[in-house]
Every structure is written in C-alpha cells, then in structure tokens.
C-alpha cells in the first residue's frame, strides 16, 4: 500500500477546475439577472429634464450599464453566500479536500466568476446602446463611451473587482452563518442597526462609505481599497471556517 502525498497547490487547482464545471448553473442565473437588468435599463438609468413655457421641454436620458453592474454585484454577493451553504460544502467534501483548499478554490472560483460577470456587465452597456440605436427613436446627443482604451480597461477592471469585493462580503457572511444559525438574525441586525446608529452620529456616514469605495478618482488607490477589503473578508472567512465540521 503506497500512500499518496499531495501538494496544496495541486489540490486547489483541481478543485477550482472542478468548481467551475460543477457550478455551471450559477452562470445561467447570471445571464438571466443581467438580461433582467438590461430590461430595466431600457427606460434610461438617469434623466435630466428642463421645462419651459410653450415647449414640452427637453428630457435627456442617460443609458448606461450601471443597473447591470449593480445587479451583477448582488449576484456575486448571493453566489458567494450559496457557496458556503451545506449543500455546496457537501459536494466538495466528496473528493480530496480540506478546509483551506476548499476556501482557496472557492475564492478562485469567485474571482473567475467576477471576471466573467464583470466583462459581460460592462459589455452589456454596448448592447444597450445598440438596442437604443436599432429599436428606439431617440435623438442621440452623445453616443460615445470612453474613447480611450486605457479608460475602458480600467473601468472593466474596477467593475470586476467590485463584483469580487461584494462576493467577499457574501462569503464572509455565509461563513459566519455556517458557524451558527443564530447569525442569520444577528448579522442583519448588526448591519442595519450599525448603519442606523452611525447615521445618527454623522448623517453622511453612508455616503462617506459609498464615496470611499466608489468615488475614488485615482485608479490605483481604488484598486488597493477594493483588493484590501476583499482580502480581509476572505481571510476572516478562512480563519472562521477552519474548524467547521462538514457532512453532518
């Protein structure tokens, strides 16, 4: 009887490939959600209106992929929570694994999912414009997107990382809930209660948090903020789940 020695990286790699294959259904849910978001975007994601006497006024509508991106972030959040549930844990603890490889391969899977969903989300903005051109009778003021390739790429990258960051929130919350079902109640209470308390102290705190992540004009600082936040969440999740029992 010879015993097989396995290397961590090799197992993580095998598991990541396995998860991309095994969780294919998550991609179909992504497509449905993005199509739905696209439908919502048809009315315009923002309007500016002027009205003057004698005229009906002018309404300027903005068409962008914003709603699709927001929906994709929510999708990333929920997908990550699902990965931590019992049903998915059981699927992966069938084959060679421990908690560390399982977490690492989940993170890789979520990253791959973020790349995929980020790209489709950003590209859906173009699809939206094509739809506007083809089927609606609008007067186009400006149909351009970022003309520069560099800006397009940085937009794409930040979108991908935003989705990844939201999936790290979901992953952490999901893992905490696995620890004890009580957290299903405690987590929302803490989050909502915390936000409420903070906003009583300082009204702009939610806006501040939002602008901390979303209004950073320096691309690299934005990247650092997002990656650090996601990293902290994932590390916490790995730490918490390292003693969880599986296949109950």
């Amino acid at each position: 009887m010879s015993l097989n020695n396995v290397r961590l990286q090799k197992v993580v790699k095998k598991q990541s490939v396995y998860k991309v294959k095994a969780n294919l259904s998550m991609y179909s849910s992504l497509i449905v959600i993005q199509l739905l978001a696209l439908l919502f975007s048809l009315g315009g994601t923002g309007t500016m209106g002027t009205s003057s006497v004698g005229y009906n006024g002018i309404t300027i509508r903005l068409f962008s992929a914003d709603i699709v991106i927001v929906f994709t972030m929510i999708w990333g959040f929920i997908t990550a929570i699902m990965l931590t549930t019992k049903a998915y844990k059981e699927d992966e603890f069938i084959f060679v694994t421990n908690r560390l490889t399982s977490n690492l391969s989940n993170i890789i899977f979520l990253f791959v999912a973020s790349i995929f969903s980020g790209i489709t989300a950003v590209l859906s903005g173009y699809l939206l414009k094509v739809i506007m051109f083809s089927f609606f009778n609008y007067e186009f003021l400006h149909a351009g997107t970022s003309s520069e390739f560099g800006i397009f790429i940085s937009g794409l990258l930040t979108t991908i990382l935003y989705v990844f960051m939201f999936s790290s929130f979901g992953y952490l919350i999901g893992t905490v809930v696995q620890l004890s079902k009580m957290f299903i109640i405690i987590v929302p209470v803490v989050i909502i209660g915390g936000v409420y308390l903070l906003s009583r102290i300082n009204q702009d705190v939610i806006l501040d948090i939002g602008s901390f992540y979303f209004l950073e004009s320096n691309f690299f600082i934005a990247l650092t903020k997002i990656i650090l936040t996601a990293g902290i969440c994932f590390l916490a999740a790995i730490f918490i789940s390292n003693r969880l029992e599986v296949r109950k």
Partner: protein, 296 residues
Amino acid sequence: MNVITCEGLKKNQRKVRALSDLSFTIKENTITGLIGRNGAGKTTLLKILAGFWRESSGEVKVFNQHPFNNLYVSANTIYVDDQMSFPASLTLTEILQEAEVFYENWNGKLAKRLFDYFSFHPEQQHENLSKGKKSTFNMIVGLASRCALTIYDEPTTGMDAAVRKDFYRALLRDYLEYPRTIIISSHHLDEVEDLLEDVLLLQDGSKCLHLPIDELKDYAVGLTGRTEMVRQWIANKEVFHTNNIGAGTTYAVVKKEGIPLDNARQLGMETTSVTSSDICVYLTDQTKGGIDDVFK
C-alpha cells in the same frame, strides 16, 4: 503498521455523548467490520476518522497524522455512505471523470466495467437515481478510488439482495488484487462476516469487543435445558442472554472460554453454537425486556 490508532477518543454532540473513551488500533491491509446497534456511534467514529468531524478529546491518528482538516489523510481516504452528494450539473460519467482527477490510484477500467455491469445510464444525474442505485454508484466510486483507507458506512442501504451479493464479492476481489485498509459499518454482520478479518463492536459509544472474526464465532455457546438446571449451572458464569423457550426449558448464551461443555452435556443440556451476528445482538442488548413489554 497501524493505519488507525485511537486513544481515549471522546466526542460530544451538544450534551449527548456520542463516543466515550474509545481506544483501538486497526492494522494495515485488513477488512474490519464496525458493528453496533443504531446510535452506537458508528457513523460518528467513521466521520472523525475521515477528517470531517473533530474529536472532543482523546487522540486519533490516521496514517500517523491527525485526520481533521488534513489534506494528506483526505487524499488517501474515501468515505462512502448513502448521503454522498454530487453536483447536480454533472452526469454520472462526468462524476467518475472528476473522481479520477482527484484520486491518484483511481482505476478507471474497473469503474467503467462496474458502471456497465450495473447498467447505469452515462447521462443520468446522481440525484435522480433510486436509493439502491445511488448506493451502488457510491460503491463504485469507493472501489475504484483504491484509497489506502476506504470507509463504507452502511454501504448496502437500499440495495437489493443480488446487488448486495455482487458488491461484497466485488469488494473482496478488488481487495485481493489491491490490498488496502477497509472499514465497513453494517447492521447485518451475517452478510459481511465472510469478508471480515476483524470485528469492532461498539456499544453506547465505547468499545464492546475488538476481535478477529474467527474468535468471535467461537466466543459464546448456547445451552438449552431444563430451566432450574440451566439457571443453577450458569449462576457464576458470564451470561449474555437467557430466554424461556417453552414449558420449563431455558436457552442461555454464555461465554465459551473456560466452560466445561462435556459436563453440561452430561447433565442433559444441549449445546449449540451461536452465530457471530447473534452474539453481537446479545452483547449489545440494551432494551429492557422485549418489545412486547412496551405494549403491556
């Protein structure tokens, strides 16, 4: 070499003690039967050995390492039961292909031949299989993975008699070809006893017996005779079971060791052998009276 060593293993599940002070060793390349009544702690023990659950106290070593959260143990161990859940998006063939990726000793040829023999449909989903078919498929995964430690927790749940026989035969043949350490937990000792080398009998979370199967078969003897005589004769002996089987006649099962059987026969008692399965039932009898007493 010992594959498994347990020293004072304890496991609590909330306030209930599932395992208490369990100590035993299992040698390399043996087939051990883990026998016990419902709730004796069989599954708890096996899940700790497979590294899924963490022991509460005591020491447990598999391949000389602590199994919980251990990649090395996981790579050389497979745990097969009827609760195995595979991703719904994979077909049966794809599941076997994935298993091949993970287990280095995977025997693809054997898996394919068993798959065809039990006439599985390659495109079928695992969750749509019947209970018996699920067990059969899990058994194929367990056999083909050829892990140094293969754990079957009630592997025959839902299988029909023919498949059960086939399974035991396949298990034995593959074991002879490729020896490894196998643990089978089962309620049906009579079915598996021809396979087993050792029996580990659990009762209420602790070890009741750990013996080679041949010794277990010879462990006890049944005595039938007139009630007063049997009662008197077994008074200072280790009695596992007594039963009134008719007017003035009693059947008693006593430990065979050191029993003067000739003497018993001379006194007019009939001596019979007791099957190992019956011995296990008597040893682990925890019910008060019989089921009939419930309805009194």
